[in-house]
């Protein structure tokens, strides 16, 4: 199975994975230039592996949670590629990538990424082979809300002192290649993936204006 995967829930990343083997990967560290870097990265990835888009078996995209504008860049890209190439499209929750990369030894653990506004996106997992199983989440909230477990990911590092549990592997952010592996394992076992509906978790900040105040009365 040949999968092109994208994730822009934190930094931008892209991966090309064939039968469990990562052929190519791209990762940026910048969290604010997704729309600039992602398309060139996809083009280079495919060219480097001499793969044509129409040869892909699936396109997988991280559906967040993540900061809105960046998250949409990946999903908009994935949807368009899938449309033009007529390749099946799947969504995967972005925290699943961190959960896989965490390589937790046994039992339950949590994953946290940066949600800005002094909050984290987090989810709780149970160790299983070959894939960790999502037990609870995703949620957005203060680091204090994350359960008292080992907490993996950049979100854990940012607020280590506010966690009830312990921070681990604080360099980890959602990586597209890991997402592709999650997707491949899931599909191989006959499981289903998500639609590409973004997991915003927060409403837009818009407020319905109240009635205009009368001057007197």
């Amino acid at each position: 199975m040949l999968i092109l995967s994208l994730d822009t829930s934190a930094a931008a990343s892209a991966g090309l994975v064939r039968n469990g083997v990562v052929l190519q990967r791209f990762a940026s560290t910048d969290t604010r230039s997704h729309a600039e870097v992602l398309a060139p990265a996809v083009e280079q990835l495919l060219a480097a592996a001499a793969v044509r888009g129409t040869e892909l078996d699936a396109i997988v995209v991280g559906v967040g949670p993540g900061p809105f504008t960046g998250l949409r860049a990946g999903i908009a890209t994935a949807r368009m590629l899938s449309f033009v190439w007529s390749v099946p499209l799947h969504g995967v929750m972005s925290l699943d990538a961190v959960a896989l990369d965490a390589g937790h030894a046994g039992g339950e653990f949590a994953v946290a990424t940066d949600a800005r506004r002094k909050e984290v996106y987090w989810a709780r997992y149970r160790t299983e082979s070959p894939l960790p199983v999502l037990v609870d989440g995703p949620h957005v909230g203060p680091a204090e809300d994350v359960p008292d477990l080992p907490v993996y990911g950049r979100g854990a590092g940012l607020y280590a002192e506010r966690l009830t549990g312990s921070a681990a592997a604080t360099e980890l952010t959602p990586d597209a290649a890991a997402l592709a592996l999650v997707a491949e394992h899931t599909l191989a076992r006959g499981g289903t993936l998500r639609p590409t509906t973004p997991l915003y978790l927060r409403e837009s900040d818009a407020k319905v204006p109240g009635p205009r105040k009368k001057a007197l009365l």
Binding site: E43, T69, R79, M80, P198, S204, A206, K207
Partner: protein, 355 residues
């Protein structure tokens, strides 16, 4: 690339319309638009995050619709184009990401173009040639500008613009004050027809001599507009009526407000034209469908010997066809594509026609 009559697909997402248009040279083939306007009604104005979310979901269906309507296959397209600015950055980002993916997937060249200049680009459709000494007056919820266009593809100059609210924004705010709903432009235009435009003398922003100066020694805002003072004046008037326990003469206020807006827009636009040798003016933007703006612009242009062009309403509001039309012109002029490494620029100046 076919440079004589290129088949161009344009994508627009700078505000609340997701547009995909297709042109062949200067011929319009289709103009598919999906608007999130209804989702903004209860907020009384465009909410950028809501617009951006809507763009994401509307993009592929709007593209599909455009291709179907035009009977065009992606393989036939010569080039792609997208608005990269100015506009709401989160909204622009969706169109740019989608357009770049389309470019990667099809291998077609991509042109990143300026939204404001694209409004002028529609003036090319079905005429083929831009008039000499061209200017453009753009009036919408997002902008109010007067431009001089020496060469659409390479030489556009901003002569004047609003220094605060866009005219369409002022309409929305005043409509809210008068309880007329959103969008404010059509609501005010409708009720103003029954009112007396001379009932209340509302201020014309930046019209004092210290701002205007003279043709020889122009003041700091000779061709600029300001609508925030006007909006405040309307609010004061309404509050005053309420304080006195008098019923607000809504139709008269709407008509008088509209007259103030249209009077100052047209007088400054015509001033800019006559002093800059502009003899042909194109009126564009969503507010170009306002009946009073059309009427007074026509009258004053006629009196000043300026030829006025007003494209059909569907091409005045934001759309993808205007993006495609501008890119087609850029291609016919021999310019090169933008690549896929560019970013969005929410305040892209009009002097940057394309990247």
């Amino acid at each position: 690339m076919n440079r004589s009559e290129p088949l161009v697909l344009g994508i627009e997402s700078s505000c609340d319309e997701t547009g995909v248009g297709i042109v062949r040279g200067t011929t319009l083939l289709t103009n598919a638009v999906s608007s999130s306007m209804d989702e903004h009604v209860r907020f009384g104005g465009v909410i950028p995050e809501i617009a951006s979310r809507a763009h994401l979901d509307a993009m592929v269906p709007t593209l599909q619709q455009a291709l179907d309507e035009a009977g065009v296959q992606l393989a036939d397209v010569d080039a792609l184009a997208v608005t990269s600015g100015p506009g709401l950055s989160g909204a622009l980002m969706v169109g740019v990401a989608a357009a770049k993916a389309l470019a990667v997937a099809t291998g077609k060249p991509l042109f990143a173009v300026n939204h404001l200049v694209a409004h002028v680009g529609v003036g090319l459709l079905d005429s083929g040639k831009l008039p000499e000494n061209l200017g453009a007056l753009l009036v919408s919820g997002g902008h109010t500008e007067i431009l001089r266009v020496r060469n659409l593809a390479s030489d556009v100059e901003l002569l004047g613009s609003t220094i605060d609210d866009a005219a369409g924004e002022a309409y929305d705010k005043v409509a809210r004050i008068l309880g007329l709903g959103y969008p404010g432009g059509p609501a005010i235009d409708r009720i103003a027809a029954q009112g007396n435009p001379a009932a209340v003398r509302f201020p014309r922003g930046l019209s004092q001599p210290k701002y205007l100066g003279t043709a020889e020694q122009p003041g700091p805002h000779r061709y600029d507009w300001s609508f925030s003072g006007l909006k405040t004046a309307v609010a004061r008037f309404v509050e005053d009526c309420e304080a006195r326990g008098v019923e607000v003469p809504v139709a008269d206020v709407a008509a008088s407000f509209q007259e103030a807006v249209v009077d100052i827009i047209t007088s400054k636009a015509v001033l800019a034209c006559t002093e800059n040798g502009i003899t042909s003016l194109l009126l564009g933007g969503g507010v170009a469908s306002n009946s009073r703006l059309r009427q007074l612009t026509r009258e004053r242009c006629e009196a000043a010997g300026i030829t006025l062009t007003i494209p059909p309403s569907s091409l005045c509001t934001d759309n993808g066809a205007m993006v495609a039309a501008l890119a087609a012109r850029i291609i016919m002029d021999g310019d090169e594509p933008s690549g896929i490494g560019f970013g969005t620029d929410s305040s892209m100046p009009v002097s940057t026609v394309h990247l």
